[in-house]
């Protein structure tokens, strides 16, 4: 017996969430409709509310409730440094360290020719335009230490070269608390190449 159409639609919509297959989506849908209808109502309202109020910051593209996000509008932030991240979650991870006081720019993805993700799919043209109008002293590329992160970093370095801005990349190497014998060769190689004077 097929599910009623609205239930089937809900199951399909829940499957857009990362890591949710059809079985998990069914369990979620039944949980909400059978056992927790008030929570289902709150969830629907929360989703609509967030959709309505959260958009991209017009300066750094992160998610914000305002036109310009809290960090971009903070006069106390260092406006000579711009840190490039792939996603708002990466930005929040860096913010949580409390070590960086500059500004950010969120690409919303990383270059991946194999997946068909091109510079135009990311916010790279907007980034170049921003730097043309608001130059900085240093661009810090904080993309992931993956093939896609490396490709994005290299592409950015080339795209920003005509602007004459200093472009740096986050250091890569042995994790804190890590033991050398357990670190893979690629990471150790990077750690060696990026060693610092004591």
């Amino acid at each position: 017996m097929p599910y009623p159409a609205p239930l089937e639609a809900l199951i399909e919509q829940l499957r857009v969430l990362p890591g949710v297959g059809r079985r998990s989506a069914q369990r979620m849908a039944f949980q909400l409709l059978e056992r927790d209808r008030p929570q289902a109502q709150a969830l629907a309202e929360g989703l609509l509310n967030a959709l309505e109020k959260i958009s991209n910051c017009e300066q750094c593209q992160t998610l914000t409730e305002e036109t310009v996000c809290e960090i971009c509008s903070d006069p106390g932030r260092d406006s000579t440094a711009l840190c490039i991240v792939a996603s708002p979650t990466d930005q929040w991870a860096l913010e949580a360290t409390g070590t960086y006081r500059g500004r950010y720019f969120v690409l919303h993805g990383q270059l991946s020719p194999i997946d068909g993700v091109t510079p135009e799919d990311l916010a790279i043209p907007a980034l170049v335009e921003r730097l043309q109008h608001h130059p900085v002293e240093e661009v810090i590329v904080a993309t992931n230490a993956t093939v896609e992160g490396e490709a994005t970093a290299h592409y950015l370095a080339e795209a920003l070269r005509p602007l004459g801005v200093r472009v740096t990349r986050l250091a890569q190497g042995v994790p804190l608390g890590g033991e050398l014998e357990l670190v893979d060769g690629g990471t150790l190689g990077r750690a060696f190449a990026g060693r610092t004077a004591l």
């Binding site: 020719p113 093939v147 893979d184 060769g185």
Partner: protein, 229 residues
């Protein structure tokens, strides 16, 4: 009993469920394989593309389970060589289906990666040699010393390419010079004209297998005209 270690390169990985990735592997004996690797808490991240490794794989069918690996020597590609490597990977993913072993492809891929590490400026030649290795693996290679009718190429004549046939005499004033095709047959890529010829010729030969869709990675090569974009 532990399964044997399978030499393989990771060509691509994409997230799968919350804590897993689907790996596209190029194995030494089994051709391309798909495998799920669970990277839960405390488990090491899978090696980056371009680093040789050995994998313990379980299961059969379209998607194996990868449950352990050891990285071999070799650094990930960086800078411009990385984009050339991604072009190779896209070629492999587009041209070869999973579960279809191809003799010699694993070795040709490893040699291409080594060449890119050692001499990134030789990128166009490395890419052309690998495209030719792909043509051979697909059974689409053709003679560069004889035409489709079995006649030896003449240096002074001009030739065109016909898929499934090979080189054929071209109309006067058109096609590629026999002398250049014969130089290419000797592995001579020394001039821009020869490299341009190789790119156009191999592009024409690979086009049917690529189904008319350009390779996305071509635009990121050091010579944007240097790939099958």
């Amino acid at each position: 009993m532990a399964s044997p270690w399978t030499p393989a390169y990771v060509l691509h990985q994409r997230p799968f469920r919350d804590q897993s990735v689907v790996l596209e592997l190029l194995t030494q004996d089994g051709g391309r394989l798909g495998a799920v690797y669970h990277r839960g808490r405390g488990r090491k991240a899978p090696p980056l593309a371009f680093v040789p490794g050995e994998w313990q794989l379980a299961g059969r069918g379209d998607l194996r389970t990868a449950y352990d690996f050891q990285s071999g020597p070799g650094q990930p590609l960086t800078g411009q060589a990385l984009f050339a490597g991604l072009y190779l990977n896209e070629l492999l993913l587009r041209l070869f289906p999973r579960e279809a072993p191809v003799e010699g492809l694993f070795e040709a891929y490893g040699e291409a990666l080594d060449a890119l590490r050692l001499a990134p400026l030789a990128e166009p030649v490395v890419l052309r040699r690998f495209e030719w290795a792909c043509l051979e693996a697909l059974g689409l290679a053709f003679s560069l010393t004889e035409d489709g009718g079995g006649q030896a190429l003449r240096p002074g004549d001009a030739y065109r390419f016909e898929p499934g046939v090979g080189l054929l005499a071209a109309a006067p004033g058109q096609g590629w010079a026999g002398a250049e095709l014969l130089a290419l047959a000797e592995g001579d890529f020394s001039t821009p004209a020869l490299r341009h010829l190789a790119r156009a010729l191999f592009a024409a030969a690979l086009a049917p297998a690529l189904g008319g869709r350009p390779l996305q990675g071509a635009r990121f090569l050091s010579d944007p005209d240097g790939g099958l974009g």
